[in-house]
Symmetry: C2
Subunit: 193 residues, 2 copies
């Protein structure tokens, strides 16, 4: 696997130069994740800052009743890691599982910190990844409060159609904050329109 896409990913941020992007990318190691296997399991400390080059990953947590709740979906071109576990070196409450065969590149916490020290521009890049994740969660939170389940479904369908091609409906349902039964009904009503 060539690291072209990884280099391009850094460059697209407009926060690092071509040369820096190449140098940063050279510290990443390739990684494959077979369908259904895990990038991270709950109870472990997240130690991989993973760029997903292709494939699809679902993050989920288990609530008190043991129900599996989808916390996020990741498609190619995104950075995948559990922020709190990774930076605080604490055990993760979430699982990250490959929904299809995945390929990508990773560095460890130690390597990331070394990069932050040696490559000045990369710090801003790292921050922008954090800020982006935070912002999209805020938007999602606001939509949970102000929109109906059908509106949230509609938005997700339009903005992230790939999720519907990859993930099981029950997993999309918990991501939307509803039961699979409700999602099924919403889809039924929706196709009528």
């Amino acid at each position: 696997m060539s690291s072209q896409k990884l280099i391009q990913f850094f460059k697209n941020s407009n926060l690092v130069s071509q040369k820096a992007a190449e140098e940063i990318a050279s510290t990443f190691s390739p990684k494959e994740i077979k369908k259904n296997s895990f990038l991270l399991k709950e109870g472990r400390i997240c130690d991989e800052y993973f760029f997903l080059e292709n494939g699809f990953i679902r993050a989920f947590a288990n609530d008190i009743d043991g129900n599996d709740v989808t916390t996020n979906f990741y498609s190619s071109g995104q950075v995948v890691f559990e922020v709190s576990s990774f930076f605080n070196r604490t055990v993760s409450k979430e699982n990250f599982q490959a929904i299809v065969d995945c390929e990508g590149w990773y560095i460890t916490y130690e390597q990331l910190n070394n990069l932050f020290h040696s490559m000045h521009d990369f710090r801003d890049f790292g921050r922008s990844i954090l800020v982006k994740g935070f912002s999209s969660l805020k938007i999602r939170m606001l939509s949970m409060i102000t929109e109906t389940a059908e509106q949230r479904y509609d938005t997700l369908l339009k903005t992230n159609p790939e999720i519907f091609q990859q993930a099981a409906l029950k997993h999309i349902a918990s991501y939307l904050g509803i039961t699979d039964t409700s999602l099924s009904r919403i889809r039924k009503e929706y196709t009528k329109k």
Copy 2:
């Protein structure tokens, strides 16, 4: 106002030394916010990284129908700023309003970046603030999905009782993702128990 609490706040993170904490604190300027006035108004770029020494602040956004939705509450000892607007230099969709008279300390975006350059340890501190905010939002999101309105009310009452002493019920209601009518009903049922 003495900057003792500000210095202590940095030290408590265990990410900066006493000396560094003093130096960092010395770049902050004091700021008062009178009850009902704004730290940030939507449409403007957030340029203040604000440490709230005492007082209480509510953040809110307006949805499509013009309803005011509380996005967060901040009590003393917290850093108050809109992450996306501040770091991306984009206009804010949120308002930050003092609920009571507030006092605190702030630095601008430029000053913060200068500090990041000159004070190496402060970067980790800055990141920890971001990570903390992100994590608590994730927890809140999970509770929105898995818990009933009454459970969320109960949790908020136990973990942040000061909110109920400071904020109007309708503002707490939208923070919990329900209407003020529902919150009133929940409180009624709740006191029966």
